[in-house]
């Protein structure tokens, strides 16, 4: 009898030990159903789907809790940064470097480092200071950087408010009454590092202007196979200044540099535009991502009538769209592909699509169980309809939540 009781007590103790271990998160990893969980610091965990349905090739870089993580095809997670506010990783075409921005209170640094981690190379530091502005709000020379995108192995496009202190008052109206803090797209060579904001501004080339007042541009990405073409999301207001207009634009990345006196920032419909809209103004389309062959665009469309968002794929319009973007013919041709968009999937919150290097999968962020996670959709092109469609159901790849406002990157 005594032995029996001891056995039961011992058995209970073992159970308690397991329970405590589970509660306290002791141990490097654990399995919750199909998900293998890894501690990533700050009390956070990332679970990775281990089933055969969640197979993918290459590596996916993303951030969780503002730490940079990389998930490989064997579904192992490696943490590359610790304790920094890292966002928007992007891997260079040769696979050597990963660029990202690091936020520090009032500013950000644009940096890159080895894809395996290690020391960071600061391309530009956005640090600065405030100064008194008699009769108005204080001014500053702090700068934001965001969403780097490689055009080749030595040049980065990125978002910045570099031109906020430029005297745009000549444009009148809103420009004369407040600083122009809307984000625009610039590019810079990474041959120099540790540039100050002023130095970085001098070394950078403006790629895409913003309109005033709605936050500027987002999501820049060069078109594979067409290194001079860049796509981005353009936020602005309509001519009445009361309704938002959010469209995808395609542009020759060198158009402004090659025609320095032709273009300027402004408001919707004012002056000449170096870019051409690929989506109509009455639909909010965001977060475009080129397919690996550069012929398709995955993007997110808001659907206010159902209070939902959809992941769509549309073909890149054919023809030369960037040489003469202000031509009505070009503008019409640029909108021709939008009606051929195919819905891949929809949900309450869907975002940040990114193609697999082989073009057979699209990873995206979806909101389920009160968290944003990476999901995979197997997609294929139907030769009859010439449209992309999802094969099967989407597969949840991660569990535990990732940063939904940080763009993931998929590399071979």
């Amino acid at each position: 009898m005594k032995n029996h009781v001891s056995f039961r007590v011992a058995f209970l103790l073992v159970l308690v030990a397991f329970a405590v271990q589970g509660c306290l998160g002791i141990g490097g990893s654990s399995n919750q159903g199909n998900f293998k969980s890894e501690n990533t610091g700050n009390g956070q965990k990332i679970g990775v789907n281990q089933t055969t349905q969640a197979v993918f090739k290459g590596k996916i870089y993303f951030t969780q809790g503002r730490n940079l993580l990389v998930l490989d095809g064997s579904r192992n997670v490696k943490q590359l940064t610790h304790g920094e506010d890292v966002r928007d990783p992007a891997v260079s075409p040769d696979g050597k470097w990963v660029a990202f921005d690091v936020r520090y209170g009032d500013y950000a640094n644009l940096v890159y480092m080895s894809v395996n981690g290690g020391p960071q190379h600061v391309v530009i530091s956005g640090n600065g200071h405030y100064w008194t502005n008699s009769g108005g709000f204080p001014q500053d020379d702090f700068y934001w950087f965001g969403q780097p995108a490689w055009s080749d192995n030595s040049h980065l496009a990125f978002l910045s408010d570099f031109q906020k202190n430029f005297d745009w008052a000549q444009l009148g109206g809103d420009f004369a009454s407040a600083p122009f803090v809307d984000m625009q797209i610039f590019s810079i060579s990474i041959s120099h590092t540790n540039l100050t904001g002023a130095e970085g501004k001098a070394d950078s080339q403006i790629v895409a202007y913003a309109d005033y007042g709605d936050g500027g541009d987002r999501d820049p990405m060069y078109r594979p196979g067409h290194p001079s073409e860049i796509i981005y999301t353009h936020y602005t207001y309509d001519k009445t200044g009361t309704n938002q207009v959010i469209q995808l634009y395609l542009e020759d990345a060198n158009a402004i540099a090659q025609h320095p006196n032709m273009y300027s920032p402004g408001v919707e419909g004012s002056g000449l535009d170096p870019a051409v809209a690929l989506t109509p103004p009455n639909v909010e389309c965001i977060e475009p991502a080129f397919s690996p062959n550069g012929n398709w665009i995955a993007y997110i469309r808001r659907n206010p009538s159902t209070n939902s968002m959809g992941l769509y794929v549309m073909p890149v319009p054919s023809g030369d769209l960037t040489s003469n973007p202000n031509s009505p013919t070009t503008q019409k041709a640029a909108l021709a592909s939008y009606p051929r968009s195919s819905l891949i999937m929809q949900g309450q919150f869907i975002g940040q699509p990114v193609w697999s290097p082989d073009g057979k999968q699209i990873a995206f962020l979806s909101y389920n169980n009160n968290e944003f996670d990476i999901w995979l959709a197997n997609v294929s092109l139907n030769p009859k309809t010439n449209q992309y469609a999802m094969q099967g159901s989407p597969i949840q790849l991660t569990q535990g939540g990732v940063d939904a406002d940080s763009r993931p990157f998929w590399t071979p």
Binding site: K164, M183, G241, I246, E287, A404, D405
Partner: protein, 580 residues
């Protein structure tokens, strides 16, 4: 497990168990067993020690009441063939309790039934819990004095409480238990925080009228009287209710319950004016810093003629804590939020007048309390100004509502109460806040008159010489302000704009161009511990609020929702906040 001289025919334990659950079970259990095995099982004996026939020892009705249970010794097979042990849980729960002979020991019983050994035949059937409790030694007879006289069973039956009475008794007991648990839950989790939030009366300063003294309603219902003016003050962080800190937000809300009119006047915090009680010229936010609620309230009355019935003070950190307690909110940001002039009034800020920069990415994302506060407070991120800001606020409130409407929030309610504790103060009672917010919610927001005394009503003067050095101040254009106040607050000729500075920036005759020694106008009562009386009053209010919420179909979350409304309205500086 009990070992003893138990023998008898094999009995299928399952079958025995099945029998043991109904009165007929006694038939097989009373079938001839052998010796002690029969006795051990709680079977009954005649006065001669012989087993009694089943039909004599267990009438159906009685047996049903006894709810017999099967002891584990049957299931373990230790007593094969023995009848099912029937009895209470006592011997079952301690099967290893045995006498020196290896027989189970009966637990001592204190009730008369365990001591008596009724003549079951005379008693009309089996009823002794002693016998059903377990082992009765062979040949045992109770002491003569404890034998029950014949006919006692009938008497006992007559005295038995009727079923309906038992049901009612149990029901009442359950209600009492639930009520007691609820009261305990209230008191331990809510009463102290709510008592620390509501009823925080601040003494009136000299010259400040108390419009509540003229209240004629006398019904105790805040909505049964005339117009109510509430001063909402928002400070940058926690524990700044004690003065010496700035009030970033200064809003006067006016509510006329009779006409269902709601108005909201936002006075810029940098408004240069003549503080009451001889404090002299200063910014409105400094008035709070130098004299707390009392000086802010008195100054509003002195300079604008607006009598303040009640005040509400909010620490912005409370909003951050609330959002964090519900594990953040998930929002699709409409567009990038860029703001280089967001007030740097975060905890730990080195300079309350400093600015900080914001860049919030567009698209779906999770926001913690800090980011959510920035998202709803930024004034410079939309071309459409406050309209865009209101849209963001409504968006965030919808997300917050989703979290608050989740049943799991119940477990977070005590934490929500703690989040608000120290970050919300008002001299209203909880029921008043609840009624006011419920009333305000019924008003169409498009009909709520909202005026911000900026631009159209004022202008900024940079580097104005003050006792604190040159400062950027806001000077009101009183000619434009007075009609607005007169209309919004129904003051007619009583509306004033005696700020002590002309629209050209020159002091007027009423100005007192001195700065007096700072004082603290905080009621001593505020610093004291929460009394048990106030806790009890709060418990009563919360009960009333819960009742009111049931009656109007709203979810009060123990009254927390109305306090959240007060918090959000002040943080947002907008009636949008009343939708939490």
């Amino acid at each position: 497990m009990v070992k003893g001289p138990v023998t008898g025919p094999a009995v299928n334990p399952d079958a025995a168990h099945a029998f043991a659950t109904r009165s007929q079970a006694i038939a097989p259990s009373a079938s001839p067993g052998k010796g002690n095995g029969y006795l051990r099982t709680g079977g009954l004996l005649s006065s001669t020690g012989q087993p009694l026939p089943a039909q004599k020892i267990m009438p159906i009705g009685v047996a049903m009441q006894s709810q017999p249970l099967l002891a584990p010794n049957m299931q373990t097979g230790a007593a094969p063939g023995a009848m099912p042990v029937m009895g209470t849980m006592a011997p079952v729960s301690n099967p290893r309790q045995v006498d020196p002979f290896g027989l189970p020991v009966v637990s001592p019983r204190t009730d008369i039934w365990s001591q008596a050994w009724p003549d079951t035949a005379q008693a009309g059937g089996y009823s002794s819990p002693a016998s059903v409790s377990g082992y009765v030694p062979p040949g045992y007879r109770p002491p003569p004095g404890l034998q029950k006289p014949a006919g006692n069973a009938n008497k006992r039956k007559k005295r038995r409480v009727p079923i309906w009475a038992r049901v009612i008794l149990v029901f009442v007991l359950i209600i009492l238990l639930i009520g007691g648990a609820g009261a305990y839950y209230y008191e331990t989790n809510f009463a102290a925080p709510v008592a620390n939030i509501t009823g925080q009366v601040v003494p009136r300063m000299k010259g400040d009228v108390n419009p509540n003294q003229n209240s004629t309603s006398g019904s105790g219902d805040i909505l049964s009287g005339g117009r109510i003016n509430i001063l909402l003050l928002g400070s940058d962080t926690d524990q700044k209710f004690n003065g010496d800190f700035l009030a970033q937000t200064d809003i006067v809300v006016t509510i006329d319950p009779q006409t269902k009119y709601v108005g909201m006047l936002s006075i810029p915090r940098d408004t240069w004016l003549n503080a009451a009680d001889g404090y002299g010229m200063m910014k409105l936010d400094q008035a709070y810093g130098r004299g707390g609620v009392g000086l802010s309230r008195a100054t509003i009355y002195q300079d604008f003629g607006i009598p303040i019935n009640y005040y509400g003070w909010v620490g912005l950190d409370g909003f951050i804590k609330v959002v964090n307690t519900v594990n953040g909110v998930d929002i699709d940001a409409f567009h990038p939020i860029t703001d280089d002039n967001y007030p740097d009034d975060r905890p730990g800020s080195k300079n309350q007048y400093a600015y900080m920069r914001l860049y919030i990415a567009p698209g779906p994302q999770h926001m913690n309390g800090d980011t959510a506060l920035e998202y709803v407070r930024s004034r410079h991120a939309d071309l459409v100004g406050d309209f865009g800001r209101s849209q963001r606020q409504q968006q965030l409130l919808s997300a917050l509502k989703l979290k608050l409407n989740n049943p799991s929030i119940v477990s977070e309610l005590p934490q929500l109460a703690n989040d608000l504790n120290g970050y919300v103060k008002t001299d209203m009672q909880l029921t008043d806040v609840f009624k006011l917010m419920n009333f305000a919610r019924t008003i169409n927001q498009s009909q709520i008159k909202q005026v911000v005394l900026d631009g159209q009503y004022s202008h900024t003067v940079g580097g104005y010489p003050t006792a604190y050095g040159p400062q950027d101040i806001v000077v009101l254009n009183c000619a434009a302000v007075i009609p607005v106040i007169a209309q919004m607050f129904g003051l007619g000729d009583q509306a004033r704009c005696d700020t002590g500075i002309s629209s050209t920036g020159k002091p007027t005759s009423t100005a007192v161009a001195t700065v007096t020694t700072p004082s603290t106008a905080v009621s001593p009562a505020l610093a004291g511990p929460v009394s048990s009386d106030s806790v009890w009053q709060v418990a009563q209010q919360m009960t009333e609020v819960s009742g009111l919420s049931y009656s109007d179909g709203s979810s009060s979350l123990m009254g927390m929702r109305s306090l959240l409304d007060l918090l959000c309205m002040t943080v947002f500086e907008s009636p949008v906040g009343m939708q939490a």
